[in-house]
Symmetry: C2
């Protein structure tokens, strides 16, 4: 069976639904209970974590693990950590001092429900939880240290936080290189880390990790471009990932942007060629799904 057939017979909708449920069950077990003190904080953390996200990052992490012939159990803590970290960035991005969003995925944002100070602290606690979850990983200590490095780098000042601060400063800018830099760090760094962490959990080789990283980074860049396009074409069925002020549509026509995203998806597909070909159907189908969101 070749990989093209793999993708044809692979039902992405069922796969995404199953993996989303798997991640959410695990997260529900792993997150602090609402009855545990401080109860208000734990309620806010759960409110933030369970607001109907697509769980695309943790699903990519699990899919990358599977691609290197690992199993879900070795990557589930990484998957949860990636999602917890992503959730904290959304809580902080929505703050009045940042994007000042009062609604996310059709529900009031954390600071609207719990107050601004509590929303800052909810994000802070979620970030700490992300690292706590990795430390509980069933991977070897060597792998766990690698996982911490991946997540901390993606999360830090040269990763998503760096992307967000440049995004805030870039309102009204039309510098292509700057917008690419923002997309790379605000969005793609976490996709990059998600698939590499799945690979690390499956004991991937350096070459395999590099390929997964290229796939994740290209996919993340395409994802952000498509998101920018969807932001311009309101569609009730599509929730916005980040209410970015800096969009690639400031520098590209929608057609050019679609072509750019399509090129990134081609790069992502090409990167997969050096990997074992047996278990690539999920990664391929997710890449196709990201670009098809424009059609």
């Amino acid at each position: 069976m070749n990989s093209a057939n793999d993708t044809e017979i692979f039902n992405l909708k069922i796969y995404l639904s199953k993996q989303k449920s798997h991640v959410e069950v695990a997260l529900n077990d792993a997150m602090p209970n609402e009855d545990t003190r401080p109860t208000e904080l734990h309620k806010a953390m759960r409110y933030a974590a369970f607001t109907g996200g697509k769980r695309i990052r943790p699903i990519l992490c699990l899919a990358a693990c599977k691609a290197i012939c690992g199993d879900n159990s070795s990557a589930i803590y990484s998957a949860m950590a990636i999602e917890t970290l992503h959730t904290y960035t959304l809580v902080h991005d929505d703050l009045p001092s940042m994007d000042d969003d009062i609604e996310r995925r059709g529900k009031p944002t954390v600071h609207v429900v719990y107050g601004e100070a509590n929303a800052v602290l909810t994000g802070d606690a979620l970030q700490a939880l992300a690292f706590e979850l990795i430390a509980k990983s069933t991977t070897s200590p060597e792998q766990t240290v690698m996982l911490i490095k991946e997540l901390a780098t993606a999360a830090g000042s040269c990763g998503v936080v760096g992307g967000q601060i440049e995004d805030l400063a870039a309102i009204g800018q039309t510098d292509k290189e700057l917008i690419h830099w923002i997309h790379l760090h605000k969005t793609a760094d976490l996709f990059y880390a998600a698939v590499r962490m799945g690979g690390i959990a499956a004991n991937a080789s350096t070459e395999e990790l590099a390929a997964l990283g290229k796939y994740g980074q290209s996919l993340g860049l395409a994802f952000q471009i498509i998101d920018d396009i969807l932001d311009e074409e309101p569609n009730e069925s599509t929730s916005t990932i980040q209410n970015s002020e800096t969009t690639c549509l400031a520098t590209h026509t929608p057609e050019e942007a679609k072509l750019l995203a399509s090129n990134y998806i081609s790069k992502a597909m090409t990167a997969l060629k050096v990997l074992p070909q047996n278990n690539l159907a999920p990664l391929k189908a997710i890449a196709e799904f990201v670009i098809e969101r424009t059609i």
Copy 2:
């Protein structure tokens, strides 16, 4: 040479000055350069990290490592991580939505200089950096994973973030148990983690780690009580660690509070008895210094 003599001949002032300098040189090397993009964020991170703190937590980490016959180099990344994490909590605690402090250690707070959104992101990046620093530790992978667990637990929703959220909610409260809970988590948890992390870096036994933990927790509780007392007795030479609204002076007279702090210091000293007695002078002298701040 017995331990009493050790303390007598030990010059704490010189020790603190030397270790503070050691921590600051290491931090200066380890923190992202101001010329590296995003430059504004890196400037703000360095501004927050170099505002004249006493570096008591990283010094305790190094002293605990020495107490278990380890050397500075095995604990220096943990020491930096503890200080970086502490720094992020100060940046967020000072925010307008929290304590709304415009000055810390005689200098404008981060949000005053860099704006509120950037201050949130500066704290976020510092927290990620704390975990990145531990992941770079020269300890064994097994030790590094233990270090991550210690820091993440102390940093999380049942640690300093939990303490801060209950502190914000407790304004005007006079419930002794509640105030103790807040002190325990807002302040003592990071002291607890600091000394245990020093111990882990020196390969301490479970019994030694428990003793270090008791020392750190008791010292942290005494430290917060003394801080509450000093807050009530303005003294230009003493900078406030946290501008807490919830003070033990709401439930105790200053004399009762001093006695309580003194009892915690005695507990801290007692905890040290199970440790090797050769290298305890710094930990003992720091405990005495904490209580002497009231005289």
